[in-house]
Symmetry: C2
Subunit: 300 residues, 2 copies
């Protein structure tokens, strides 16, 4: 079965919503991604943790079948993030970031991981995303996430990595910023013209849209009565998306469209709870049930 | 063929967006609705205009086949509205409202219109919506729009009219306010429990969702590279929605779902131009082409 490689952050999060607060809960892009993608295919995790990272949390990845042999433990503190959501629940306000050992980390992809067919470059300095790409051989599909900071401060490295990936997964504000245009449709087309095969625009409770050269595909969000914590939605989305590609071993247009539904469902598990608890508890039969709900939602 | 009745405002609008400005252009909920719905079935318009209302604008309704025998011309100024959109382009800030002859108008439905099968109660005082309903006999389906002002200031009349209509068509903020709950899904269910068969939540560039007791249906927005003026989108939506019901003569669940696509397409014509120009130029073959685009957008 094809193997999935993810390179990105593992973190402890302090998260506040208008209704609840949690401290020191497991977070980080790679955590959410790995715990979603492992539902579909074997996942290889490359990341860095500090002295304070709980062994019980490493154990959660093992229990989920994630290969943690690419996890480096270094002296110092793990990445800590403190974020707050207002009643809009859409994007977090970052109150504080303490990069810790993540700050000067340069990931090394273990030789045994270099043959991974599907790769997710989580949100990180695009220069590091380029280094990671140079350490994998011939992946069938590479997806990347990024954020406003890199768009503003690492533009040339980001442009270079954009030319080397298949799928760019961003939110509405990021796609506008990346293309420097307000209209999301125009922005997506502008980015497609630079090379990636597909651009995914994540719209939180409004769903997600996949743009490809000759066609686009719109998936509604999974309907939830209670969203507890939106943190990690985009990374769990990427996990379901890449997971579906890996499970089928394909990356053709029809598979990409179907993968958007899987991304949507994995995101729904992530936001139902604080931290990774929801996506950690998800099962494939559960995912398939939610896929059917999404299909019914757009059926005539 | 079933007849459509609309009761609501005709106005002259001053509209500002970050890019353009128009003054004294034809607007008003009933104008947008009528010019959309007439694509589908005969439309009867009940409204009030002042001395300043241009005969050439009345002529536009005639040219579009709209029955204007319920249009009253009264001494005084027509309804004037001045609205402004910021870069978000989603909801207008009302800078000024001059109700003119619309202010103390009590609509009288001509006896010849009392047999209308499909009725749209555009955004107006719910007490007036109730009076209008008392003047029609046995409509097959009635839809209503409302706004925050009536939710805050005419709650009991609004609750009463909600119990008498089939479809409530509102935006996200309004559905939350109407049910006094943040989650849109919960809010829609709460309103359904009060009596209407269906609640439509309009989400601007994110599409629209139809909620019914046992099922809901999600339509993406029609993809546009240039939105010029969002004014009238909701009323053109209602025009396409009710229009499709009238054209088919049905109001079963499957027809309601399909009608949401027609509403979406009519809204897309409205927002492509300032004023009613876009929806006035729309044709049924054009609508059908856009429906196919929407179908392709969610096709696996």
């Amino acid at each position: 079965m094809p193997q999935i490689l993810v390179v990105g952050s593992l973190a402890y999060d302090d998260v506040e919503t208008p209704f609840e607060r949690r401290r020191d809960v497991l977070g980080g892009a790679a955590s959410y991604f790995a715990l979603a993608a492992r539902l579909y295919a074997p996942v290889r995790l490359v990341g860095v943790i500090g002295d304070d990272f709980r062994e019980s949390d490493v154990e959660r990845f093992h229990a989920a079948g994630v290969d943690t042999s690419g996890l480096e433990r270094r002296p110092g503190r793990s990445f800590h993030w403190l974020g707050r959501y207002d009643y809009g629940f859409a994007t977090a306000e970052t109150i504080n970031t303490d990069l810790g050992v993540f700050g000067d980390w340069r990931p090394r992809v273990p030789e045994a991981f270099a043959d991974s067919e599907f790769v997710f470059l989580a949100n990180i300095d695009p220069e590091i995303q380029l280094e990671v790409l140079s350490q994998v051989r011939e992946p069938l599909a590479v997806a990347l996430d990024t954020m406003n900071y890199w768009i503003e401060n690492r533009r040339s490295a980001l442009d270079e990595v954009l030319r080397k990936v298949d799928v760019v997964s961003v939110n509405e504000a990021e796609v506008r910023q990346l293309a420097d245009t307000h209209n999301v449709l125009k922005a997506a087309r502008e980015i497609l013209a630079r090379a990636p095969r597909a651009v995914i625009v994540k719209r939180a409770e409004h769903g997600a849209q996949l743009f490809m050269e000759d066609r686009s595909f719109w998936a509604p969000a999974y309907p939830l009565e209670d969203v507890r914590d939106p943190t990690g939605a985009g990374d769990a989305f990427a996990g379901g998306f890449i997971g579906h590609l890996a499970r089928t071993g394909k990356a053709d247009d029809a598979t990409l469209r179907r993968a958007v539904l899987h991304g949507t469902v994995c995101a729904s598990y992530a936001v139902e709870t604080f931290s990774v608890d929801g996506i950690e508890r998800a099962t494939m039969p559960g995912v398939d049930g939610r896929i059917r709900v999404l299909e019914a939602l757009v059926a005539p």
